[in-house]
C-alpha cells in the first residue's frame, strides 16, 4: 500500500480561523481540553454538593448555597439533588472524560504519534467539536427550564424518564443533548479510524504505533459501532416524550398499549458497557506508554498488551447483561453473562502483568506523569478486582444499586481515567503549549488527589457493603444507615480535600499555558516517539518532512546505542 502524504497547510491568519473555527487537529484538541476541563469543574462542584448533602443533611451548602437555593436557605432540596446526580453523571462521562481523553488527546496525539500532518478529514474534525458544543448548550439549557434539568439518573431508565416520571422539558433536552453528542463522537471516531488506517508514516506498521494510539483507535471503533445503538435508544425515548409513542410505557400508568421499559435498559447497556471501555481504553494506552517511557525500558510484551486491549474491546460487547441481573432475566442468560463477564479478567490480568513487567528492572524516573501512571495501576487494580463482586450474580443481588457499585465504577471510570488524563496533561504539556508545568506542585497535586480519591471511593465501597443504596437524598431516614454517618462525613471531607487540590492543578496549568516565560525544550522527557522529533510546541504543519519510521515506539536502553542517549527516535535505524 502506498503511503499518503499531506500538503503543508498555510498557517491560519485571522483569530477566527486560528482559534475558533480551526481545522488544525492540535487546536481542536486544545478546544476539547478546555471544554473538558470546564465541565470537569462543573461536574466536580455538583459532586461536592451531592457529598455535602449526604454528610450534612439539612445544612446549607457553604459559599454558593444561599445564592443557588434561596428558598430553602441554602440547603439542597430533594428535587435539585436528583438533578445534581443526574447531571453529575452525564457531565462527567459525556462532557468531561470523553472530551478530555478522546476529544483532546485523541485529536492531539493520533496525527502526531503516527507522523501525519493533520487528521484525514479536518472539516469533520472541526464540526465534531462544534456539534459537541451545541450538545453542551442543549444539556445546560435544561438547568434553566421551569421544572429543572433531567432527574432520572444518568442511565435515565424509563418509565421514570418518560412523561410519567419526569414531565419537564429538561429530560427531553437531556436526550437530545446525548443524541447530538453521539453524532459528534461518531464523526470524531470515523475520523480517528480513517486517520490511523491511512496516514501512518511510511514504515509504521500497526504494532509500531505507540500503545496510546492503539487505545484511542480501539475506543474510536467502539464509539463508531455502539454510539448509534444509544442513539436509537434515546431517539425512541424522545419520540415517547414528544410524539406520544409508547415504546417504554407499561403498566397502569400507560393509557394505551404495552411497551417494554426493560428494552431501553438492554439498548442502554449494549452501548453502556462498551462505553466504560471507551472511557478507559485511552487511559490504558497512555499509561502503557508512559510506564515504558519513564522506566527507560521497552514496554513489556507490547504486542500482548495491544492484543489484550483488542480482546477486551471485543469481549466488552457481549457482557452487558451483568448490569441487569436484578431485572430477573432468565437464569440461562444470567449464567452466561456472568461467565462471559469473568473472561474479561484474562486479558486484564495479562496487561497488568505487562505493566508490572515494564517497570521490573527498569530505571524509573519519578516525574509527575510517571507518578500518575503508577497511580492508575493502583486504582485500576482496586477497581478491576472489586468488579468481581458485581459480576457474580448472587453478590450482585445484594450489592446492585448500592454505593459499592458507585465506588467500583468511580475507581475504574473516574479515578483511573482522571489520573490517566492528568498524566497525559503533564506529559504532553510541552508539546501542546510549549511550556512545562511546575514539577513540585504536580507532585503535591498527585499525592493529595491520590489520598482524596482513595478516601472517597474506598469509603463509598465500605458504606455500600454496609447496605447504603444509591441516589438517596437523605440516607439516614433508614435506621440501619444511621451508623454510617461518620463514614459519610469522612468521604465528604476527602471529596472536599480532593476538590480543593484540583485548584493546584488549574493554577499550575493556567500559569504554564499563559504566563510561563521559560520555554520547554523539544524533548524534555527524552522519549523517542514521533511527536518528540519536532519542535515544542508543535508547529501547525507538525512535520516538515514526513518521517520514515524504522523502529518501535519504546526503544530504550538498547545496548548497541552509542553516545549519551539511552533512547532511540522512531526514525532511527535499530542498531
Amino acid at each position: 500500500m502506498a503511503f499518503f502524504e499531506q500538503h503543508i497547510h498555510e498557517a491560519p491568519k485571522t483569530f477566527l480561523s486560528k482559534y475558533i473555527f480551526s481545522f488544525d487537529h492540535k487546536v481542536i484538541g486544545k478546544q476539547f481540553l478546555w471544554y473538558g476541563i470546564f465541565f470537569l469543574g462543573v461536574g466536580g462542584i455538583m459532586a461536592l454538593m451531592i457529598r455535602w448533602t449526604l454528610a450534612f443533611p439539612g445544612v446549607a451548602f457553604p459559599l454558593i448555597g444561599k445564592l443557588m437555593f434561596p428558598e430553602t436557605g441554602g440547603v439542597v432540596p430533594p428535587d435539585t439533588y436528583a438533578m445534581l446526580f443526574t447531571m453529575h453523571g452525564t457531565i462527567m462521562i459525556f462532557y468531561a472524560i470523553t472530551p478530555i481523553l478522546i476529544g483532546a488527546f485523541g485529536n492531539f496525539l493520533i496525527p502526531l504519534m503516527i507522523g501525519a500532518r493533520d487528521m484525514v478529514f479536518p472539516l469533520l474534525n472541526m464540526l465534531s467539536f462544534w456539534i459537541a458544543f451545541v450538545s453542551a448548550i442543549l444539556l445546560l439549557a435544561g438547568l434553566f427550564t421551569p421544572l429543572g434539568a433531567a432527574a432520572g439518573g444518568w442511565t435515565s431508565y424509563p418509565t421514570l424518564s418518560t412523561l410519567i416520571g419526569s414531565p419537564g422539558v429538561g429530560q427531553t433536552l437531556w436526550a437530545m443533548a446525548i443524541f447530538v453528542l453521539g453524532v459528534s463522537s461518531t464523526m470524531g471516531a470515523i475520523n480517528y479510524i480513517t486517520t490511523i488506517i491511512v496516514l501512518r508514516a511510511p514504515g509504521m506498521g500497526y504494532f509500531d504505533m505507540p500503545l496510546s494510539v492503539w487505545g484511542l483507535g480501539l475506543t474510536a471503533i467502539l464509539n463508531a459501532i455502539f454510539l448509534p445503538v444509544l442513539g436509537a435508544g434515546v431517539l425512541l425515548l424522545i419520540f415517547d416524550r414528544v410524539f406520544g409513542t409508547t415504546f417504554f410505557l407499561a403498566g397502569a400508568a400507560a393509557t394505551s398499549g404495552t411497551g417494554d421499559p426493560i428494552l431501553f435498559q438492554h439498548v442502554f447497556w449494549i452501548f453502556g458497557h462498551p462505553e466504560v471501555y471507551i472511557l478507559i481504553l485511552p487511559a490504558w494506552g497512555i499509561v502503557s506508554d508512559l510506564l515504558s517511557f519513564f522506566a527507560r525500558k521497552p514496554a513489556f510484551g507490547a504486542k500482548a498488551t495491544a492484543l489484550s486491549m483488542t480482546s477486551i474491546t471485543i469481549l466488552s460487547t457481549i457482557v452487558y447483561g451483568h448490569h441487569m441481573f436484578t431485572t430477573q432475566m432468565s437464569p440461562l442468560l444470567t449464567q452466561s453473562f456472568m461467565t462471559l463477564t469473568m473472561t474479561i479478567s484474562i486479558p486484564s490480568a495479562i496487561f497488568f502483568a505487562n505493566w508490572l513487567g515494564t517497570i521490573w528492572k527498569g530505571s524509573i524516573r519519578f516525574h509527575s506523569p510517571m507518578l500518575f501512571s503508577l497511580g492508575v495501576v493502583f486504582v485500576f487494580g482496586l477497581g478491576g478486582l472489586t468488579g468481581l463482586y458485581l459480576g457474580t450474580v448472587t453478590t450482585d443481588l445484594y450489592l446492585h444499586d448500592t454505593y459499592f457499585v458507585v465506588g467500583h465504577f468511580h475507581y475504574t471510570m473516574a479515578a483511573s481515567v482522571l489520573l490517566g488524563g492528568f498524566a497525559a496533561c503533564y506529559f504532553w504539556m510541552p508539546k501542546m503549549f510549549g511550556t512545562m508545568m511546575n514539577e513540585f506542585w504536580a507532585k503535591v497535586h498527585f499525592w493529595i488527589t491520590m489520598l482524596g480519591l482513595n478516601g472517597i471511593f474506598m469509603g463509598m465501597m465500605i458504606v455500600g457493603y454496609a447496605g447504603m443504596h444509591r441516589r438517596l437524598y437523605n440516607p439516614f431516614v433508614y435506621d440501619f444507615m444511621q451508623k454510617m454517618i461518620p463514614i459519610n462525613t469522612f468521604i465528604t471531607w476527602s471529596a472536599i480535600v480532593m476538590g480543593l487540590s484540583q485548584i493546584i492543578f488549574v493554577i499550575n496549568f493556567v500559569h504554564a499555558v499563559f504566563f510561563k516565560k521559560e520555554k520547554a525544550s523539544d524533548n524534555p522527557w527524552e522519549v523517542g516517539t514521533l511527536e518528540w522529533t519536532i519542535p515544542s510546541p508543535a508547529p501547525n504543519y507538525n512535520f516538515k518532512e514526513i518521517p520514515v519510521v524504522k523502529c518501535g515506539p519504546h526503544e530504550f536502553g538498547n545496548p548497541n546505542l552509542t553516545g549519551s542517549r539511552d533512547f532511540q527516535y522512531q526514525t532511527e535505524e535499530l542498531a
Binding site: D79, G152, A253, F352, L385, V393, H400, A466, H469
Partner: protein, 269 residues
C-alpha cells in the same frame, strides 16, 4: 472520628450510635434469612482472593518502584518481554486469576443462584404468598386473605407495612404501577426490580423476629429516599395470631365498591 463531631452535631440527624467501632459501622445489617449467609460468604471469599492478588500487584508496584528507581538502578534491563519465559509467566498470571478467582466464584455463585435464589418454592411447600405493588413512593403489600385467592375483597392489604413469619418460605410477586422500583431487603441480602407491566419474583425465609427496614433501591423520582417500608418478622404463633386478626379486620374494613382495592392479580405459579 472525634474530629468531625462538631460538624456532625450540626447535622439534623440523630447520632445516637456514637460509640461504635469502625468495623461495626461498616458491617452489613444483620442477616435474618436462611440463605443470606451464602452471599456474605461469597463476598468474604472473593475478598480474601482479591486481597491476595491485590497484594501481589502492590508488591510489584511498590517493590519495583523501590528497587528499580533511577537512583538505585541506573541502567535499565533491555528486554521486550517477548521471550518464551515472559510469555509463559504472563499466561500463568492470566490463567491463575481466571481459574483461581473467576471460575471459582462463578461456580459458587452459579450453584447458589440455581440451587437457592432462583429455586422458587413449590406450591406443596406452602410458602406464604405476598403480592407487592410499588408506586411512587410507597409499597403496597397484599396477602390472599381467608379464601386464599388473590384480588378478592377479603384480601389483607397494607401500605408500607409488611409482616412475615419466621421459619416459613415467603414468595413475593412484584409489580410496579408507574416507574421502575426495586424491592430491597437489606437484612435478607436480596433485591429485585419492580417493573411496570412485568412480574418479577423474590423469595426468602426469615429466621429471626424483629423490626427491619425495606427500601427502594432503584431511582424512582424525587422522593426515592422516602420510599421506605417497615418489615416486622413474627414467630410462627405470633404471625398466625396477627394474620387471623388482620383477616377478620379485612372482612369488615375492605370496601368492595372501591376499585382501588383491586390492584392485585391472579397468582400464577
Amino acid at each position: 472520628m472525634s474530629f468531625f463531631m462538631p460538624l456532625l452535631s450540626a447535622a439534623a440527624v440523630d447520632t445516637a450510635t456514637k460509640s461504635m467501632s469502625l468495623w461495626e459501622r461498616m458491617t452489613p445489617p444483620e442477616d435474618i434469612s436462611v440463605h443470606g449467609h451464602l452471599i456474605d460468604w461469597l463476598f468474604a471469599y472473593t475478598t480474601y482472593l482479591n486481597i491476595f492478588f491485590f497484594a501481589l500487584v502492590c508488591a510489584g508496584l511498590f517493590g519495583f518502584s523501590f528497587f528499580y528507581s533511577a537512583k538505585r538502578h541506573p541502567k535499565a534491563h533491555y528486554t521486550y518481554g517477548n521471550k518464551k519465559i515472559h510469555v509463559i509467566v504472563a499466561t500463568i498470571i492470566g490463567l491463575s486469576v481466571f481459574i483461581g478467582i473467576d471460575m471459582n466464584i462463578t461456580r459458587m455463585s452459579n450453584n447458589d443462584y440455581i440451587g437457592v435464589f432462583a429455586n422458587w418454592p413449590k406450591e406443596d411447600e406452602n410458602p406464604l404468598k405476598v403480592e407487592v405493588l410499588a408506586q411512587q413512593w410507597a409499597w403496597n403489600f397484599r396477602y390472599a386473605g381467608k379464601d386464599g385467592v388473590f384480588n378478592t375483597e377479603d384480601d389483607v392489604v397494607y401500605l408500607n407495612d409488611l409482616r412475615l413469619p419466621v421459619g416459613r418460605k415467603v414468595l413475593f410477586q412484584i409489580l410496579s404501577k408507574d416507574v421502575i422500583h426495586s424491592l430491597y431487603f437489606p437484612n435478607a441480602r436480596r433485591k429485585v426490580d419492580a417493573i411496570p407491566g412485568r412480574l418479577t419474583r423474590l423469595w426468602f425465609q426469615p429466621t429471626k423476629a424483629g423490626d427491619w427496614d425495606i427500601a427502594c433501591a432503584e431511582m424512582c423520582g424525587t422522593y426515592h429516599y422516602r420510599m421506605k417500608a417497615h418489615l416486622t418478622t413474627y414467630s410462627e404463633e405470633d404471625f398466625k395470631r396477627w394474620m387471623d386478626e388482620a383477616e377478620e379486620k379485612a372482612l369488615s374494613v375492605n370496601d368492595p365498591e372501591n376499585p382501588e382495592l383491586f390492584w392485585g392479580w391472579r397468582w400464577d405459579w
